[in-house]
């Protein structure tokens, strides 16, 4: 006998509203159905009603945690449409802020992962150390979360020389604590008991379901847009693509934690090699009719923007494909066969960001009713 265990839309394991319908037999999960759309905000439609400059701040609000990478992707796409290249220094500043964002996102992941497995002390400590990077971001961009630094044709704020020693000091502290967490996460007996061999995504499945970001890298798939298709300053910066082989939650965590160390390296390198010069070029807002696709590596994986312009100062269509959306397909293969106790940590293993994700709506042409399509329904419709 199976019974249905609803997880969400309101549930302490989820930080955002989303509905997961688990069919469980005792404690074992036999099926999972994902209902998306509880955080649908109509952002894509709104993006095609504002001009290119105003859209920066709207795209920043698609996701709070990865806001810089959203604006960077958007700005890079618009720069491509306009045919301008941002100054070198601006590219480096973008890289610095994006990497600081990656550090903060991954530390946030660690904290919530610890909370999901009931390790509240690690949760509090990880978030304590996350404050260092938040302070750095506040110092550089003027706000803890929404940096509002990117603009079309460069950045709005320079990294001042007097800030560099403070940043380096902060990175020093972060590096020390990250190494401690890597050590702890890989050796604590209770963490190992909760994280190894569960939610395993095999390499075959990761490729089949087109997993992106740390999720794919934990399953031994070497994919990182920063290395595969370098954008901005990443061409000139050297870093390693972190991969793990096992594909379980522990590997997913280890990939993220080791990426923090890589990000710290990138920031240091960027601060050292940053060229002088201007930080922005002026760009007119009238874009010639054209279309463009731009992709970047967000903390959670590949982020893709498609923009079609029509000669005015507002885009005709903006499509955003966020990493979480790409990762939902692989969810079923991670859950089925596991137990109820694994749901939160396995779900958090893909670092879901539902605010990013909810943009699929279906309009019934006969009745004019709008409704949200479930994952299963989409699959059925395709057949």
């Amino acid at each position: 006998m199976t019974f249905v265990l609803p997880i969400g839309p309101q549930h302490p394991a989820l930080k955002e509203p989303e509905f997961f319908r688990f069919e469980v037999k005792g404690e074992e999960i036999v099926d999972v159905d994902i209902h998306l759309g509880y955080a649908h905000r109509g952002i894509e439609e709104a993006l095609s009603r504002r001009n290119y400059k105003h859209n920066i701040y709207l795209s920043e609000r698609i996701c709070g945690i990865c806001n810089v990478v959203h604006t960077t992707t958007y700005c890079q796409a618009v720069e491509q449409l306009a045919g301008v290249e941002p100054p070198e220094r601006a590219k480096y500043i973008r890289a610095i802020i994006m990497e600081l964002e990656r550090i903060h996102s991954h530390l946030l992941w660690l904290g919530i992962a610890a909370f999901q497995i009931g390790f509240n002390t690690l949760f509090m400590l990880a978030w304590r150390d996350r404050e260092y990077v938040m302070d750095l971001r506040e110092m550089i961009s003027g706000s803890r979360v929404h940096s509002a630094t990117n603009t079309i044709g460069g950045v709005r704020r320079d990294v001042k020389t007097e800030h560099v020693p403070t940043i380096l000091r902060g990175l020093e502290k972060l590096e020390r604590s990250t190494k401690y967490y890597i050590n702890l996460f890989g050796s604590d007996r209770t963490i190992l008991a909760r994280c190894t061999n569960l939610g395993v995504l095999s390499k075959k499945d990761a490729i089949k379901f087109c997993a992106v970001g740390p999720l794919a890298r934990a399953s031994d798939v070497k994919t990182d847009i920063r290395a595969d298709d370098p954008y901005g300053a990443y061409d000139a910066l050297s870093f390693n693509v972190v991969i793990e082989r096992e594909g379980d939650v522990l590997a997913k965590g280890m990939v993220r934690l080791r990426e923090i160390l890589e990000s710290i390296r990138i920031v240091r390198q960027a601060l050292k090699e940053m060229p002088g010069g201007p930080i922005r070029t002026r760009v007119g807002l009238q874009m010639p009719p054209n279309e463009t696709v731009e992709r970047t590596e967000a903390p959670r994986g590949e982020l893709l923007y498609y923009i079609r312009s029509n000669g005015t100062d507002t885009p005709e269509r903006v499509r955003v494909r966020t990493p979480t959306y790409g990762n939902f397909a692989s969810m079923k293969s991670m859950f089925v066969g596991g137990t109820v106790a694994e749901i939160p940590i396995v779900m958090w293993g893909i670092d879901p960001c539902f605010g990013c994700n909810d943009r699929v709506t279906l309009v019934d042409s006969r009745t004019g009713k709008t409704r949200i399509v479930s994952f299963d329904e989409l699959r059925r419709r395709r057949k």
């Binding site: 019974f3 249905v4 265990l5 609803p6 549930h11 302490p12 394991a13 404690e27 610890a114 909370f115 999901q116 497995i117 009931g118 390790f119 509240n120 002390t121 690690l122 949760f123 509090m124 400590l125 304590r128 604590d188 209770t190 963490i191 008991a193 909760r194 137990t339 109820v340 106790a341 694994e342 749901i343 939160p344």
Partner: protein
């Protein structure tokens, strides 16, 4: 007549409801404060539990329409009653508990199980999948820790040769604490581990794992009924700690320091606080186990400790 008055005072004032709820709430407050400091934050003030209790008691009482309301409403009170009754059998001021029976350890074991069964009934009758899931986990958890707990108690009983808790305390007053007896040290460790599971603390807080099944069996409770549950839980903390103190740590002892006699209740409070702080430390350094891992851990490692102890007690005179 005097006996009746005595009984009423014992059960309602000291060491019954009033005393034990004041101390229990304070101890859980201390536990929360120390937890905060261990996590490098300030934590709530130590009287926070009293404020929470007042807040919950003043809130609206809601019974979900899907719940079987009679069972749902009655179990918090039964649970509270059972756990306060245990307090009457514990030696608090001296070796003699407030109520004396021939084999009070057996009564205590039974009474300590009633709150667990009440939680399960509450969960199953609440009509919520989280409640049912939490209750199901509680059943498994009860099966795992109870065996270890009883084995550890049997080891003590075999050593002392009496089922009366008063005799155990008197024996320790003459022979020294049982935890210092090398034959009973494994049993003491096993009992501590079992207590961690009994008090639903990390790594054994599986039945109320907040990130998995909201609040387990108590998900649907709110307002005054939740307050009674919290009170019962907080009292259970001190009762279990007090039982461990009586079994292994010498029970309440009166000391004479500089001519003034310090009553046994002070000793009792200090020792129980130490046990509570030990469980606090344990719960802050570990992640929660899965229910199957907890079951395996109890039936292999913890049960092994208790059995070793029992065998040693029986084999080595």
């Amino acid at each position: 007549m005097m006996e009746v008055v005595d009984f009423v005072i014992n059960s309602l004032v000291f060491p019954g409801l009033l005393f034990v709820s004041l101390v229990g709430l304070l101890y859980v407050g201390i536990d929360r404060k120390v937890t905060g400091h261990m996590q490098h934050r300030i934590g709530p003030p130590i009287w926070q539990e009293y404020l929470d209790m007042g807040k919950l008691l003043s809130k609206e009482d809601i019974t979900p329409s899907a719940a079987q309301s009679f069972v749902f409403n009655i179990v918090p009170l039964v649970s509270l009653g059972a756990i306060v009754a245990v307090m009457l059998f514990l030696p608090v001021t001296s070796a003699q508990p407030a109520l004396i029976s021939v084999a009070d350890l057996i009564v205590i074991i039974y009474l300590l199980n009633i709150p667990a069964i009440c939680v399960m009934l509450g969960g199953y009758s609440s009509g919520s999948p989280f409640g049912a899931s939490g209750a199901g986990r509680y059943v498994v958890q009860l099966l795992s820790y109870e065996f270890v707990f009883i084995l550890a108690i049997i080891a003590v009983v075999a050593r002392v040769g009496s089922l009366s808790l008063g005799t155990v305390v008197v024996y320790q007053a003459q022979q020294g604490w049982l935890v210092l007896d090398w034959r009973l040290l494994p049993a003491a460790i096993a009992a501590l581990i079992a207590a961690q599971g009994k008090l639903l603390r990390v790594p054994f807080d599986i039945p109320e794992a907040e990130s998995e099944i909201v609040h387990g069996a108590l998900t649907e409770y709110s307002g005054p009924k939740l307050a009674i549950w919290r009170l019962a839980y907080d009292i259970e903390t001190i009762v279990v700690a007090g039982l461990l103190v009586a079994l292994f740590f010498g029970g309440p002892t009166t000391y004479v320091i500089g001519g003034t006699q310090i009553p046994g209740v002070v000793d009792f409070l200090i020792k129980t606080l130490a046990i509570v702080l030990l469980t606090t430390t344990l719960r802050n350094i570990m992640a929660r186990l899965r229910i199957d891992q907890a079951l395996k851990f109890y039936w292999s490692f913890a049960a092994l400790l208790a059995i070793i102890s029992l065998v040693l007690v029986l084999a080595v005179p």
